[in-house]
Amino acid sequence: MIEAVMEPPAVNNEEEGFGRNVGQKRHYYRVAIPLTDLWPGYGGSAADGLRIEVYESWLERI
């Protein structure tokens, strides 16, 4: 689940690191993932979750 869009947009490090794509910027998204979805057999509460920033190029619209 997308919880927030991080502003401002940021450079694409994966391209930038190779000298490509100079200056192109896209967003990071703060994504919420239940820990029970990530780890089979997770021992804690079903409500426990992870929040992580994922760069736009790794996400697709569903």
Partner: protein, 209 residues
């Protein structure tokens, strides 16, 4: 009377490592090309070393006593800290995560050691080491228990992994029984570990001044 031992300060000998050589080469090149003056690097290290968890504690105490500041802090951590004179020397944003009766926040950087340095200073060693980084996202309740922190099952644990653009700071719950305390007294309660989320604040364990 002092209690530290007198083990000699050891300097690693032998050939410098790959990253050490690369850091020196890049630093010297930048200076040689006139892009950065060595005094700027020295100054930046001085700034980094000047930051301590007392800054974060000041932010937390203000948020506890001033609801309007608290609202601004939760909306934009960076600009609210800047109101208190805490400067940010990099491009990172700060998200402040509020602990409540229903939610307990924990921060980690699984990739490396991202940490809210402008408000907390340098991270503790365990924060940078792999066991914490790997386990905080996989079994946070066990990690917390090892820190002596028991979070009830009906409280949601929210682990924030600060690997990219954003740094996180936990706003701990204000302990009950502190209603009459001054802002300074409250700040003295707030510990580094509580602002990482591995501890909760216990007024009985007031920090040794």
């Amino acid at each position: 009377m002092h209690s530290h031992d007198h083990a000699p300060i050891t300097v690693p000998d032998g050939t410098p490592g790959y990253y050490e050589v690369m850091e020196t080469a890049i630093r010297e090149l930048l200076a040689e090309k006139g892009l950065i003056h060595p005094s700027e690097i020295r100054r930046q290290l001085e700034v980094l070393d000047s930051r301590t968890p007392q800054l974060g504690a000041k932010v937390v105490a203000r948020a506890w006593v001033d609801p309007e500041f608290r609202a601004r802090l939760l909306l934009n951590g960076r600009s609210a800290c800047e109101e208190l004179g805490i400067t940010f020397y990099d491009d990172t944003q700060l998200i402040v995560l509020e602990n409540t009766r229903d939610v307990h926040n924990l921060i980690v950087c699984t990739l490396c050691s991202c940490y809210p340095r402008p408000v907390l200073g340098l991270p503790p060693d365990w924060y940078k080491q792999k066991p914490y980084r790997a386990r905080a996202v996989k079994e946070p309740r066990n990690v917390l228990a090892e820190f002596g922190t028991a979070i009830p099952e009906d409280v949601e644990i929210r682990v924030s992994d600060s690997t990219a653009m954003v740094r996180y700071l936990v706003l701990p719950q204000r302990p009950s029984g502190t209603e009459t305390w001054s802002e300074e007294e409250l700040a003295s309660l707030v510990t580094r570990d509580a602002m990482i989320g591995v501890a909760i604040i216990d007024p009985q364990e007031r920090k040794v001044q």
